[in-house]
Amino acid sequence: MTASVVDQQLPTEARPPSPNVIELDALKKWFDIGRGLFRGSIPLKAVDGVTLAIARGETLAVVGESGSGKTTLGRTVIRLLEPTDGRLLYDGQDITHQSEKELMWLRRKAQMIPQDPYSSVNPAFPVYRILEEPLVIHKEGDRAQRGEAVMKALQSVKLNPPEFFANKYPHMLSGGQRQRVAIARALMLNPAFILADEPVSMLDASVRISILRLLRQIQHTFGISFLYITHDLATAKHFSDRIGIMYAGRLVEEGPVGGVLGEPLHPYTKALMNAIPDPDPANRLTVRQGLPGEPPSLISPPTGCHFHPRCPIAQAGLCDVKDPEMRELRPNHRVACHLAS
């Protein structure tokens, strides 16, 4: 991309580069929900002990239904929220409890792409100003250099000709085009990591594929790692390298996409896969297997394994009492279930 005009701000201690861009170690993010003036507060356990790692240049998809905590996980990973417990490492450096000021270097290296094309970019700014902002804030380059960087970014996201798009306001663009601008904005500071939080779920089906393909392309061209948060297992299958399944604040299964989806080991993953139809006329003649009940509340989740009330193979005395640990049952493929094998 553009030559980085200002040197990367390295962490204070020079370290040998770790193979993982992001590492989470039993990360927790709990929110205090007040119950009224004198009744104290109770915790909402949005992220309840998640351990995973994202390697350089890879896309990890975190798939979960709404209320699973995946959005909170994303926000915590790029430190828009401060973890309540556990450790968060970026490039080997512990950023769990650093202050905003100390994190300015992270604000270059880690970027995000929001979900809603109608509010993902500032409607009051023209495109070139939207894209220029990150450079201006971090004092990168002079006017001419910034202009060049903006044009290059627009080309990277296939908004051609770039001069045409640079002067437009967001309301003049379609949803897909706006998301492309959001992606271009994320690229401006040469990040090594991008959080893509449901970047296509509010776009038309036909536009989704082109955006996801673009993200993949960007990943391969620039070697950026992605954390792709979604509820859509099918897109996760085609656009990520590894996949993690989240349920009620915890990771229940994690591994390479082919492995997890080819041989799902956790009952929830199996149920999730069974629930999604591919276009097949035979579907209407059969009844699809669902799961009874509803996803649990994060304020008072079930004891032990959070999935046990809905699990078809749950064992009383074990699954409702003891928290399952993540075990590596296949190469690089981990499952948190007492009964999986």
Binding site: I209, H231, D232, A234, H238, P277, D278, R284, E294
Partner: protein, 408 residues
């Protein structure tokens, strides 16, 4: 051959806007037998919801054209006046689950009363009787009777959607229109609701018009599939046919763009955007994005110029185009091209012709060229006549010129 319970013929709905008339529904026809489900599939803005609203005569205030025949149970209900339509058809014969209905429940009224309301509006019925029937309807959708006393905010998403379905069934209609009934729900809840709809279809002998953009979901219920594009029905036929060997190129592209969980095939995307309904393209409405469009499909001179400009502006393709200084549309089928002063006009015409011959498979719009005539200082390019393709075929038909010669 049993009489269809619902036979829609040539339904048209246009409405007025500042920018011009919007062709929301443009000549749509299909027939539904008792117990059958038709899925109306299309992108957002394609006109599928407008079609449903037109059948139920839920019209916007600025209607310009509203025509066609809707034969329900043997009678053309378009002939009914508003009062009769309301009494006989709306909700009693045909009911609807609206998009996002679960969020539109009245937050200040108990759920049971809301389910009972259509009964009270339509029949002069005792309140207790209505309450009993409401509880019965809730039972049919898998909710216990005490749910009737709850308020909507006390229920989960899935439960609210069941309530809405119960409301749609309370007057025992024959046809239920489902407009994206699971769009705001989680995958698991979605499965449960679809299973419920499958059960109800059989238990109550219902016909569904299932509107969705999700082909996977459509296949869960559809016996018949109708593909809607830009206000038109471009293909309609049995699920076994349409899902497996679609006749219309758009259907093919649509199916290819679905990321499949059980196949390794990478999903493909459809380039371009759906057309503006106030100004639909001449000829076939899909031709601008079609991978197999050819000369009959309806390229107009302005569109041709637009496509050339797109090629010129993209870094990867601009060198392929012969050097052009200016282009102008003389009329809808003819354009004039002025070459950059680099040789004679005849030479340019040659280069243009060979470009067209070479690259027409990739850039389909080039196929629409009928002739290239060098004139004094410009080259006159004539395009083929454009005509919208009719629906070709019987029970399984698609509107594509490629089907004319019996091809598919």
């Amino acid at each position: 051959m049993p009489l269809p319970v619902l036979d829609v013929k040539n339904l048209v709905l246009w409405y007025r806007t500042r920018k011009g008339p919007v062709h929301a529904v443009d000549d749509i026809s299909f027939a539904l037998e008792a117990g059958q489900t038709i899925a109306l599939v299309g992108e957002s803005g394609s006109g599928k919801t407008s079609t449903a609203n037109s059948i139920l005569r839920l019209l916007p205030k600025n209607v310009l054209r509203y025509e066609g025949k809707v034969v329900f149970d043997g009678q053309d209900v378009m002939e009914f006046d508003d009062e009769e339509f309301r009494k006989v058809v709306r909700w009693r014969g045909i009911s609807m689950v609206f998009q996002g209905a679960m969020n539109a429940l009245n937050p200040t009224t108990r759920v049971g009363s809301q389910v009972a309301e259509p009964l009270i509006v339509h029949y002069d019925i005792d309140r207790r009787e209505a309450a009993d029937q409401a509880i019965e309807a809730l039972g049919k959708v898998g909710l216990s009777g005490d749910i009737a006393r709850r308020y909507p905010h006390e229920l989960s998403g899935g439960m609210k959607q069941r309530v809405v379905i119960a409301m749609s069934l309370i007057l025992k209609p024959k046809v239920v229109i489902l407009d994206e009934p699971t769009s705001a729900l989680d995958v698991m809840t979605q499965t449960n609701i679809i299973n419920l709809l499958k059960d109800l279809k059989n238990a109550e002998h219902l016909s569904y018009i299932f509107i969705t953009h999700d082909l996977g979901l459509a296949s869960e219920l559809a016996d018949l599939v109708g593909i809607v594009y830009a206000g038109e029905l471009v293909e309609v036929g049995p699920a076994e046919g349409v899902f497996v060997r679609p006749k219309h190129p758009y259907t093919g592209k649509l199916l290819a763009s679905v990321p499949r969980l059980r196949s390794e095939a990478a999903p493909d995307f459809i380039p371009g955007v759906p057309p503006d309904l106030t100004d639909p393209p001449p000829g076939c409405r899909f031709h601008l994005r079609c991978p197999v469009s050819f000369e009959k499909c309806g390229w107009s001179a302005p569109e041709f110029i637009e496509q050339v400009k797109l090629l010129q502006s993209s870094v990867e393709t601009k060198d392929k185009v012969p050097a052009i200084e200016a282009m102008k549309a003389k009329d809808t089928q003819t354009l004039l091209i002025k070459p950059v002063a680099n040789g004679t006009v005849a030479e340019f015409a040659q280069r243009l012709t060979s470009f067209i011959a070479q690259d027409q498979e990739t850039y389909r719009f080039l196929k629409s060229v009928e002739s290239v005539q060098p004139k004094a200082k410009v080259v006159e390019v004539k395009l083929h006549e454009a005509m919208p393709p009719p629906l070709i075929g019987g029970d399984w038909r698609a509107s594509c010129w490629l089907l004319e010669a019996g091809g598919s």
